[in-house]
Every structure is written in structure tokens, then in C-alpha cells.
């Protein structure tokens, strides 16, 4: 019997009512009295020298308030990067200045050159068209390998080359890995591309700057996954505003997927311009702007080698990756191909020796940063593809080869510096086999073939690392921030609770799931608990939501704060019942004295805390409000086994997903309905990457996939019903909820099985296909079949 409340139940989401009735409060729905509107003039040239910006005609256009260029930002800091990587030679990465508006040169199509603030958005746009830009074209650098060649044009003239860093991990293993590959009984090599993607949350970015002259306080309303991080980065590094004079609000946010983590120049601009113009300044991104200004994702080119001994045991993995940074370093860009990718290269397997080399490269393209999974999909894709290729070369079953090499004892120290606390990879594979009916595949293939289609089955495993932590470790790795989370739990006199969390919900359902945890702890109804997030004025400090960290880190902070509340409430209850603290038990919202029939209700205790007439004032303060900061001891490690069955039309090369199955281990589950939904969405994005989505630049740095007409977003008729299961649960050992995180799993786990399935289908036609690069468009698949 499923639970109807508390941990493990699936109550309907309370946030849905406002979204379903048009009463959401997204940033673009906010309008401030007297606001002006900004339109950014963006470069349509990928690389060039700015010779002149003539704003005279534009300034005379109707409604224009003020026009800004780089000259207005002298003395203002650049957009900071939040992670400094040290290369394999011990040198820190090359880090170019990232100006608010382009200085001297333009470096990608979409870079902001000037900004027009006007009375209306249309007037701002009209006036921007009247600005005369004089830019001398320079050769654009688009291809990563060409960018590193001698004599390549440089994206940044003040850097020594286009190489941001050359990272080796674990550098001490380099020679041993080389030797193991040289001595191996078998080596499988695969070269592949992890295609560049555009996150495209359905809500485009919006920023509203507001300045209150009497108090000198600035407020920024923005579409962010982490308003406190924006306050810190923009306040401390760009505009020089201390936290107590700067409030950042991220209200309802329409999806993030990583691309709303980062601090963007538009946010700093609106905050700056509101003060300069002495009125609120609003920017609403068009989708066309989003394509060329939201940070892109992925874009790795990799060679991976897997060494096996004569018994098919994995003995070593060596990878060589080029990772595109784009023209500037976005907030967390340097960490993605390094610490979020290299540390995952053990996957689910006990490979003893691993070496990962990553060259991060500047190009004349939009900055690239974290997108759902961030580094972990790239690690999983190459590893699970090369294992499939090895199984084919060796003539062994791909499931058996994986099982043979699974890590089976926990905790497990990988050779890439992480320690998995728990997992059971055979259990998720068993569950997958049960769900997928591998035995029946032959018959399903025969049916497809009768209908003139090729059918393929692909499987893969994945391991994820969520809730990146602890702060003292990530500090050593180059993070310029802590990675804890905070929560303040405020109990009101009549017993209701408000939780101020630093986590941020932009679709994940915190307002519903977080109260389930507290309801379970205290034994009260979820309707008595309200979740407040997204405003730096309410929550003491927060690191936000990304990397599947909300429940594992933010939820744990909430648990710690609630434990403090319960401890204090027990003291009050003990006083009310004239008993000892140690004898007080809390169950179903009642405090009782063990072994007696004495009890007081939750509400009696909370009332006493605020009306302390009968209260131990000499021992404890009145009131009932507690804050906790939670800094995890380790990552969490969700894992799973996925399968995909495809049909390929040999006439057209079109791939259709017939079945997509996911057996995940997320540890304990608070709300199964929400977890299912997270997996579904991840699967759709993973299938999108595998079959449909690809961000394409031409050789001149022009973005060819710059609208929903050119960039293939997955639509309802591209996708099947998914079959998902999370009954395999090995709880996390180091957080109080035993939870692991589920937000990115689907996007990490699905691309390899889709590609493995298509390759399997093509082989069934007698083609010795070893790989097809994503997206597996009809033309690429047809080419693989007929080429």
C-alpha cells in the first residue's frame, strides 16, 4: 500500500495549481514602476576588431534614455569565472577578461557590443538598429584542433595561445597506464564526438535591475538557479556591491538545465544601468538571443582506449579529450571537462589504471558550460560506447562483459580520486533484464524485419556523482566557492513552519517534496509547512540547485535545522510536562513522556515558545527558529542500467525509439512521482542529444542552428512512453536522508544505449558499423548503412 503522506508518498504538487491557472510569477511577469527596457546590440561577426561604434543617430531616436558601450564600464570588473583549474604541469589555466560589453574585439556571434535603454522594448530595438558598428573581420577560430595548431589566429591576443589548460588526471598514473595499454591482450579504441548542445529551457532569460536611491540598495530579478551565487559573483567581482546592499530574486523559473546557473553579463548590465539611469531596467531575451547568448553544453572530441587482459578484465583506460570553452570562461566551465568528467571515468567498473587528458580550448563561439549532467554524460558516453565496441570485437555478450567488470564491494576507492559509498550494479542490471525481456528481443527483431525495419538493442550502465562536495576538497580542486547548503526553519506560534532554503526549484517540485520530509520528522500534516526560496532577502546563504544536489545537500540542511528545532521543542515539552528532556518522545505531532500517558501537542509547545508564560527562560531562549549549514562529506553516487530498442528505416535512415528503459538506484526516495518525472525529462534530453540535437557553426563562426526551426528540440511525436524503475535502493551512507539525486540520471544514462542500439540495428543488416556520431540524424544513419 503506497503511503499517502510523508517520505515515500506522491502527493499532488502544490505548485501546479498556480502554473495551471496562469498565476505563476516568472521574472518576465514582473514589471517595476517607471521601468525602462534594454536591447543589446550583438555582434553578427564571430571575430573582429572594433574600429568604431557610432551611436549618434540611435541616440536621437524616439524614447531612447541612454546608450551604453564598453567605455561606460571602465573600472567595472569582468564576468568572473568560478573555478580555476591547474594543468598537468602545475600551472594555472589561462583566464581572459570577460567584459560586460565587448572591449576592442568581438569574439563570438552574439557577444554584446552596445546596449540601448529606452522607454519601450520596441523603441530600444529600433534604436539599436540605428547604431553603426565598424568592425574589421578577423579569421574565426571554430575547430578545436585547428585552434591549437601553430599559427592559428588567437581568440585572445593577450594569452599565449588558444589553450586554456592541458589537464592530466591522474598525472602520476600516466606512465603506468601507457605501459598497461602496451602490454594488454586486447585494446579497443574509439574516437567520438560528444555533440554541442543548447539547453533551451522554455523560459528565456530575463533580468530586471532596480536601484533605490534613498537607501542605495540594488535589487536584481533574474531567471537563476542560484540567486545567492549571482549575488556573490556580481556583487563582489563585477559591480563592487556588498551583499547587504544587493538583493537577488529568482522567482518562478521556467527550467534551467544548467544554463541558468551562471552569472551573465546581462544581469550585471541591468543592475548597473538601473543606477546609471535612476530607474528600473528590464531585459527579456528573445529565443534568438538565447541561442547565441545562453551558455552551450558538451562539445567534446575524444579518443578513448580500453585495455583488457586475456580473460576480458579491464586493465586500463586512457582518454584524450578536446573540450570547447567558447570565447570566454563561463562561471563553471573549467570544472566540467575536468573534475566533473575525469573523476567519473571509472564508471561502474574496477579498472585499476585510468588516465584522462583534457585540453580545453578557446574558440570564437558562445561560452560552453554545464548542461544537465555536465561532464558525467561525456564520461559515460565514451566509456559505455567503448565497452560495447570491445564486446563486439571480442565476440562476447555486452551485458556479461559489464557484469564481469562491475565493482561489487563498497565503499570503493576508484583510481580517479573518488570513493563510491554504496551501489549494487548487478541489482540494477537484474532489474533491467527483468523489465526489458532481452530473451524476447529476437522475436521483436523478426517482427520489425518483416515490416522492412532493422531493430537494435542497446544497453549501458552509468554512475553519477551528485551534490559535489565537500567544500574543503573542492577548494583544493580550484572551486572559488563553497558547496554547502543552508536552511532556516521558522516555526510560528500556532505550529506552522516556514523553511527558507538555499536550494532553488525551477521545476523540481521542492515546494511539495521538502515538506514531506519535515512532515515525516515531526508527524504533522504537510499543509502546515511552506517552502520559501529564490530570494536572498529571505535565506541566509545558498548555493542553489544544480548537479542533482537539492535534496542530498539542501534537504540535508533542512533536516539538520529541523533536528535542532525538535531538540529545542523537546526541552520546552519537558518543562511543560515537568519531565526530563531525555524522556521526551515525539510521534505523530505529540510530545510524550516515555512510559507515561502524559503528552502535549506540537502546537502547545510552539505556542509556549512564543508566549513563554510557563517557560524555562533561565535555560533557553523563547522562539523556535533554527538555521543549519550542511556541507556533505562526499558526493552521492546514483547508478543504473539502461536499455533502448530502436527501429531503423533502411530506406531513409530514420531512427524510431521503440522502448526506453531505465533501472536506477537513487538511494531512498522521498516522492516517487517527482522522481519518475525527473527521469522522464532526462531521458528525453538524452534521446534528444543522441538523435536530434546538434549545435552547428560554420567555418566563419556563424551559428547555423540558431532557432527552433534549425535546432531539433525533441517533440512529443519523437518520443515513446518510458519504462522506469527505482526499486533498487542502496541508501547513501553519509547524508541524513540516504538520498542520492535523480535530476541528471536520464540525460547521462540514455545516449549510449540509444547509439549502442542503432549500431546493433545497422550490424543486423550485415554492416560492420563501429560508430555513428550524435546526433544520429537520418542522413548519418543512412550514410552508415549505405556508405
Amino acid at each position: 500500500m503506497p503511503k499517502d503522506h510523508g517520505i515515500g508518498a506522491s502527493p499532488k504538487r502544490r505548485e501546479d495549481v498556480r502554473f495551471l491557472t496562469g498565476n505563476g510569477n516568472y521574472t518576465d511577469d514582473i514589471n517595476k514602476h517607471g521601468q525602462a527596457y534594454v536591447h543589446f546590440l550583438r555582434s553578427d561577426i564571430a571575430h573582429g576588431t572594433i574600429k568604431g561604434i557610432d551611436t549618434a543617430a540611435a541616440a536621437a531616436m524616439p524614447g531612447v534614455v541612454k546608450i551604453f558601450t564598453a567605455a561606460d564600464f571602465e573600472g567595472v570588473g569582468g564576468v568572473p569565472c568560478g573555478w580555476q583549474v591547474t594543468d598537468r604541469f602545475g600551472e594555472v589555466m589561462q583566464e581572459p577578461k570577460h567584459p560586460i560589453l565587448a572591449e576592442g574585439k568581438v569574439r563570438y556571434v552574439g557577444e554584446m557590443v552596445a546596449a540601448v535603454v529606452a522607454e519601450s522594448a520596441a523603441q530600444a530595438r529600433d534604436a539599436a538598429e540605428a547604431i553603426e558598428l565598424d568592425i574589421d573581420d578577423l579569421p574565426a577560430v571554430v575547430n578545436m584542433k585547428a585552434a591549437l595548431a601553430d599559427g592559428s589566429p588567437k581568440v585572445h591576443d593577450d594569452l599565449t595561445s588558444n589553450l586554456c589548460y592541458d589537464w592530466g588526471f591522474v598525472e602520476e598514473n600516466r606512465d603506468a597506464v601507457d605501459a598497461a595499454i602496451k602490454d594488454a591482450a586486447h585494446v579497443t579504441t574509439l574516437e567520438l564526438v560528444n555533440n554541442r548542445l543548447i539547453a533551451n529551457p522554455m523560459e528565456p532569460r530575463v533580468a530586471i535591475g532596480d536601484y533605490d536611491r534613498p537607501s542605495g540598495d540594488s535589487t536584481l530579478y533574474t531567471t537563476s538557479q542560484n540567486p545567492h551565487v549571482i549575488r556573490l559573483l556580481m556583487g563582489a567581482f563585477v559591480l563592487g556591491i556588498p551583499e547587504h546592499k544587493l538583493r537577488v530574486v529568482a522567482p518562478d523559473v521556467g527550467g534551467g538545465f544548467g544554463t541558468k546557473i551562471f552569472h551573465y553579463a546581462e544581469e550585471a548590465f541591468c543592475t548597473f544601468a538601473a543606477k546609471a539611469c535612476n530607474r528600473p531596467v528590464k531585459w527579456t531575451s528573445s529565443r534568438s538571443e538565447a541561442f547565441m547568448s545562453d551558455a552551450h553544453g558538451r562539445d567534446h572530441v575524444t579518443k578513448i582506449e580500453l585495455a583488457l587482459d586475456a580473460d576480458n578484465n579491464f586493465t586500463a583506460v586512457r582518454t584524450d579529450t578536446h573540450a570547447n570553452m567558447g570565447a570566454y570562461l563561463s562561471t563553471f566551465a573549467p570544472s566540467v571537462p575536468t573534475w566533473l568528467h575525469g573523476t567519473l571515468m571509472a564508471g561502474n567498473y574496477k579498472t585499476p589504471l585510468i588516465y584522462v587528458n583534457v585540453k580545453a580550448v578557446f574558440t570564437n563561439t558562445v561560452p560552453v558550460d554545464a548542461y544537465r549532467g555536465a561532464g558525467r554524460p561525456e564520461a559515460t558516453f565514451q566509456l559505455e560506447r567503448v565497452i560495447d565496441k570491445a564486446a563486439h570485437e571480442l565476440g562476447v555478450d555486452p551485458v556479461a562483459l559489464r557484469r564481469q567488470n562491475f565493482i561489487t564491494e563498497f565503499p570503493y576507492e576508484t583510481p580517479v580520486a573518488v570513493a563510491y559509498d554504496t551501489g549494487d550494479y548487478n541489482a540494477t542490471m537484474d532489474k533491467l533484464e527483468e523489465m526489458a525481456d532481452f530473451a524476447g528481443f529476437k522475436a521483436r527483431r523478426a517482427t520489425s524485419e518483416k515490416n522492412g525495419k532493422l531493430r537494435g538493442l542497446g544497453i549501458n550502465c552509468y554512475i553519477e556523482a551528485c551534490g559535489i562536495a565537500p567544500s574543503n576538497l573542492v577548494g583544493q580542486l580550484g572551486a572559488r566557492a563553497g558547496l554547502y547548503e543552508s536552511a532556516t526553519v521558522r516555526v510560528n506560534a500556532t505550529g506552522g513552519l516556514v523553511v527558507m532554503t538555499g536550494s532553488h526549484s525551477h521545476g523540481q517540485g521542492h515546494e511539495t517534496a521538502f515538506p514531506q520530509v519535515i512532515a515525516e520528522m515531526i508527524g504533522i500534516d504537510e499543509s502546515m509547512i511552506e517552502i520559501v526560496h529564490g530570494d536572498t532577502a529571505n535565506t541566509p546563504m545558498g548555493m542553489g540547485t544544480y548537479g542533482s544536489r537539492s535534496l542530498a545537500v539542501g534537504g540535508s540542511a533542512m533536516v539538520r535545522a529541523t533536528e535542532k528545532i525538535i531538540n529545542k521543542a523537546k526541552k520546552i515539552a519537558a518543562h511543560l510536562m515537568e519531565a526530563s528532556d531525555a524522556d521526551i518522545e515525539l510521534k505523530d505531532g505529540n510530545f510524550s513522556v516515555a512510559g507515561t500517558d502524559k503528552s502535549v501537542a506540537w502546537g502547545d509547545v510552539t505556542l509556549a515558545a512564543y508566549v513563554p508564560h510557563n517557560y524555562p527562560l533561565e535555560d533557553i531562549e523563547p522562539g523556535l527558529e533554527e538555521t543549519a549549514f550542511y556541507d556533505p562529506a562526499n558526493f552521492t553516487y546514483p547508478s543504473g542500467a539502461y536499455a533502448c530498442e530502436v527501429e531503423v528505416d533502411p530506406e531513409t535512415g530514420k531512427v524510431s525509439i521503440e522502448r526506453m528503459l531505465a533501472a536506477d538506484d537513487f538511494g531512498n526516495i522521498v516522492n516517487p512521482m517527482i522522481v519518475d518525472g525527473q527521469v522522464h525529462g532526462g531521458l528525453a534530453q538524452g534521446i534528444g542529444q543522441a538523435l536530434l540535437e546538434g549545435c552547428v557553426y560554420d567555418d566563419d563562426g556563424q551559428l547555423l542552428s540558431a532557432s527552433f526551426m534549425d535546432y531539433a528540440m525533441p517533440r512529443a511525436d519523437d518520443l515513446p512512453f518510458y519504462e522506469v524503475d527505482h526499486s533498487c535502493q542502496t541508501p547513501c551512507t553519509h547524508n541524513p536522508l540516504g538520498v542520492k539525486g535523480c535530476g541528471e540520471a536520464g540525460a547521462i544514462g540514455s545516449p549510449p544505449s540509444v547509439v549502442n542500439a542503432v549500431v546493433d540495428a545497422l550490424r543486423s543488416a550485415g554492416k560492420d558499423v563501429t560508430h555513428v556520431d550524435m546526433p544520429l540524424s537520418p542522413s548519418r544513419v543512412w550514410e552508415a548503412l549505405n556508405g
Binding site: 491557472t21 522554455m202 521556467g254 519518475d676 531521458l683 528540440m713 512512453f721 524503475d725
Partner: protein, 160 residues
Amino acid sequence: MTKVSMTVNGKAANGDVEGRTLLSSFLRDQLGLTGTHVGCDTSQCGACVVHVNGEAVKSCSILALEADGAEVATIEGQAAEDGTLNTIQQAFQDHHGLQCGYCTPGMVMSATALLKDNPKPSEAEIRAYLSGNICRCTGYHNIVKAIMAASGQDVAIAAE
């Protein structure tokens, strides 16, 4: 500026608009009906779907002046006066057919139009009809389920 008047969710609505003002802008900026969302500028995403004279229309792709004199229905007019969700809205909540909520108003308005024309659509018909509404969160699974449920159909799916 030109005067425009229409009926929106059963109430008279008037305003002065430029010739280039889109219906989506008129609804959002002049009437304050911000439930209609704008998610693209190429008429692809469907977040702005409303009904004009009973037909589903992407409100970013018609001018406010084209809707002069029309009956317009938006997401704000779908629930009962007392806030009770209608059948389709309720099915979206029951089946977790929304996450961030941004595409949701357009999804609900499209689903409403679909069920008006086709009260018992098949899964394939629902998916084909929704190809003009992009959702980035749900992978469509629970949206399709919700629409099947709202049309009184069995939503039993393997592994659930």
C-alpha cells in the same frame, strides 16, 4: 496607435496598440494576463497558445488588431470562478504533467482544443497534435498520460 477591443475570458477588453503589437504582447503587457507565455520568436514552441473564436492559435503569430472583435480564451479563464481546476487542468496535476510550468498554459490550451475536435484521441494522435508545443522538462510522458486521462481513457503503461 489604434484602438482594439475584444472579449477575453468573457470580459470586454480594450486598448491602444501599435500595428506591430502581437496578440501575446497585448494580453501580457496591456491586460496583465501573464499566464500566456512567450518561449520563442519563430512560432515553434506553443507556450503562447490561446483560443481565438474557439480555435487554438499561437498568440505570438497574430497581431492584436487581427483579434479585434474576437472571443479570446486564455489559461486564466479555464478554472471555475472558485478556483476549481477543469478536467484537463486537474489531469495535468494528477499525472504530474508539468514541472517548471512554463509550457503548461500552452499545453493545456492545445489539449483543450484537441479534445474538443477529437474527444478520444489515440496516443499517436495526441503526440502528433502536440508537436507544436515544446516541453523541455517532462519528456512528454506524463503530458500524454494526462490528456488520455482527461479524455477518459486507460493510461496503464508498461512498468507502471
